[in-house]
């Protein structure tokens, strides 16, 4: 666990708030899914909040870009998308961040550098490398970070993009969010190695394993990697070990793992870990935390109200946004 000494209260409070907002948002999304307000595939981020929150804190807003896979609600919140527009997107409403045309797996905000969720496992990795290629070519000073799961790491897209990024020295940070299950398959059932960061070494890319339950560790490692990308045009690879509390998607009861395993990870919950450390450092009281939680529960309820009250897209939208 990295020390929080040296970080001021506003910085830590913002991280705590964001992680808790993601948790409450996902819980509400799951609830609304259960009520059949949301359909299709819906992959929740519960348990992994420290990854996107820590990483986004290490990015330079307005310069850097982010891409991820289909478990993308948390990344969108971390990049500053209004959670109202995310809930509306889940509802398929016209006010959604993708006008109701994307859905759970495709949350976009081009201007904020949110280059979305991608529904094809690993499909976003070459795109991110291309974004970084353009950033270097256009000399815009930014870098790109791309997230993918442990399931994606065996795709050719990962290996081809890593090779290109290293050969051409592109400002991109590859992040494997290793939540230890590709859908229902444990890493050791599908991978010849279980420490996935070693795969970066084959491409001569500096690679590290990071504790994904510690938001400070994620922040520090991502910030360092993004700074290196931006200033030296050197890619990095981070394997961030994390755990998803829920099933792969809403339809998955996750019977392939033991209760003991899940409980062990719940005991190192990223939100409670930061909360505990802030309390120890006298930066937070239990009452303040409860107030924050109440505020965020109200906030996500407001997201639901916004989504419910929002209009459906009109039929005329069927033929828009295809050709320029």
């Amino acid at each position: 666990m990295r020390p929080i000494k040296g970080y001021d209260k506003p910085f830590l409070s913002a991280l705590l708030r964001e992680m808790l907002l993601i948790r409450r948002f996902e819980e509400k999304a799951g609830q609304m899914y259960g009520l059949k307000k949301i359909g299709g595939f819906c992959h929740l981020y519960n348990g992994q909040e420290a990854v996107c929150s820590g990483a986004a804190a290490g990015m330079q807003r307005g310069l850097d870009r982010l891409l991820t896979g289909y478990r993308d609600h948390g990344h969108a919140i971390s990049l500053g998308l209004d959670p109202k527009t995310l809930m509306a997107e889940l509802y398929g409403k016209a006010t959604g961040c993708s006008k109701g045309k994307g859905g759970s797996m495709h949350m976009f905000d081009y201007a904020k550098g949110m280059w979305g969720g991608n529904g094809i496992v690993g499909g976003q990795i070459p795109l991110a490398t291309g974004s970084a290629f353009a950033q270097k070519s256009q000399k815009d000073g930014g870098a790109t970070i791309v997230f993918f799961g442990d399931g994606a790491i065996h795709q050719g897209a990962f290996h081809e993009a890593m090779n290109l990024a290293a050969t051409w020295k592109l400002p991109v940070v590859f992040v494997c969010e290793n939540n230890q299950y590709g859908m229902g398959s444990a890493v050791d059932r599908v991978s010849s190695v279980t420490d996935l960061y070693v795969k970066g070494q084959a491409y001569n890319i500096p690679s590290k394993m990071v504790d994904g339950m510690d938001v400070i560790a994620v922040y520090e490692e991502v910030k360092a990697a993004m700074d290196t990308a931006r200033t030296k045009f050197e890619p990095s690879f981070l394997e961030i070990k994390t755990y998803r509390y829920k099933g792969h998607s809403m339809s998955d009861p996750a019977k392939y793992r033991t209760k003991e395993e899940t409980e062990a990870f719940l005991a190192q919950d990223p939100i409670l870990l930061l909360k505990g450390r802030m309390e120890e450092a006298k930066l937070l009281t239990e009452d303040q935390y409860k107030d924050l939680d109440r505020e965020l529960k109200d906030l996500v309820m407001g997201c639901v109200e916004f989504a419910e009250a929002s209009p459906e897209p009109g039929y005329e939208e069927i033929y828009t946004d295809i050709y320029v």
């Binding site: 993708s98 006008k99 070459p126 795109l127 291309g130 081809e160 993009a161 050969t167 295809i322």
Partner: protein, 326 residues
């Protein structure tokens, strides 16, 4: 007017557009130091440098996906696939990313890129290097698909493709790179989505694109010897499709033959055949004929591979069937 080859016409288009806009970059296997597998990019590395004319590793998925990301960021990449056969490895990046990010994001992204290279049967190449994949791209909403048959069309269309803000699939033909034709000295553009009448006639319409257009013109010569005046429509663009010109011709001749060098099932040719039957039904005096490649993997043997593809004789025979003449 200068007479130049197809490869030189394509090279001129790339050269002019690279001069015009710095965001135009070329990516592909052997495009730089080797001057291109078919020498289409000859001399461009020397002129524009290694940051804009870029040799890639043999990773179609990786560099095509990279180009899509660069296009999202506002560049105008031109990807050369050494052949569209290799492009199958990259097709996910085009279908799911190049095309869909615009619609899935509610219009926030655009993808101004071109993917070009040889498509369709060539010679002596066997089963994995000699097939047309036009329908794979025509099938997916969001691409523009272009398939020129002459140096003049190729240059004007490639320049338009590079300036287009949509992903454009630019289908060339290995057998056509050495074909010569007239190309004017100054700059010109050809609008994507406009077909071209390559020969006028009143008796039967031959509709095709890319390499078989030349066969249609030869077939028209043969038919003329028998007093049959065939009109040849070169589609040039498959998406958007110039229905207006195709239908105007069919309404004049009342008979049509569609020629496509791809396999027949679910092909561009079968689609156009169906469209003409549906939309020009009252104007037709015979069912629309269709000449495609045989529904088999391409054999290596030269006699067999030629027989598998459309031929002048097959087109002539189809035209006569449409005219109820034997």
């Amino acid at each position: 007017m200068a007479i130049i080859t197809m490869r030189e016409a394509l090279r001129q288009a790339l050269d002019e557009e690279m001069t015009r806009e710095t965001g135009v970059v070329i990516l592909g296997e052997e495009v730089a130091q080797y001057d291109g597998a078919y020498k289409v990019t000859k001399g461009l590395l020397e002129k524009y440098g290694p940051d804009r004319v870029i040799d890639t590793p043999i990773t179609e998925l990786g560099f095509t996906g990279l180009a899509v990301g660069a296009a999202f960021a506002g560049m105008r990449p031109v990807v050369e696939w050494m052949t569209f056969q290799f492009g199958l490895l990259a097709i996910d990046q085009l279908i799911h990313n190049a095309v869909k990010y615009r619609s899935m994001s509610g219009g926030q992204f655009k993808c101004p890129m071109v993917v070009r290279g040889p498509n369709g049967p060539a010679e002596f190449l066997g089963g994995q290097h000699s097939q047309s994949f036009a329908s794979y791209f025509v099938h997916v909403p969001g691409f523009k698909v272009v398939a020129p048959s002459t140096p003049y069309d190729a240059k004007g269309l490639l320049k338009s493709a590079i300036r287009d803000d949509n992903p454009v699939i630019f289908l060339e033909s290995e057998m056509n790179y050495g074909h010569k034709g007239e190309v004017p000295e100054g700059e010109y553009l050809i609008e994507i989505g406009k077909a071209d009448l390559k020969r006028e006639g009143n008796d039967v319409t031959l509709v095709s694109f890319s390499k078989p257009v030349a066969m249609c013109l030869q077939a028209a010569e043969e038919l003329a010897k028998e007093g049959i005046q065939a009109e040849v429509v070169d589609l040039r663009s498959l998406v958007p499709l110039d229905e207006e010109l195709v239908y105007a011709s069919v309404r004049k001749t009342n008979r049509a033959v569609v020629v496509d060098e791809a396999w027949p099932k679910a092909s561009v040719g079968s689609w156009i055949q169906a469209k003409i039957m549906q939309d020009c039904f009252d104007d037709l005096d015979a069912p629309v004929e269709f000449v495609a490649s045989e529904d088999v993997p391409m054999p290596y043997n030269h006699t067999l591979e030629l027989e598998v593809q459309p031929t002048v004789a097959k087109i002539v025979a189809a035209a006569k069937r449409a005219l109820y003449r034997s």
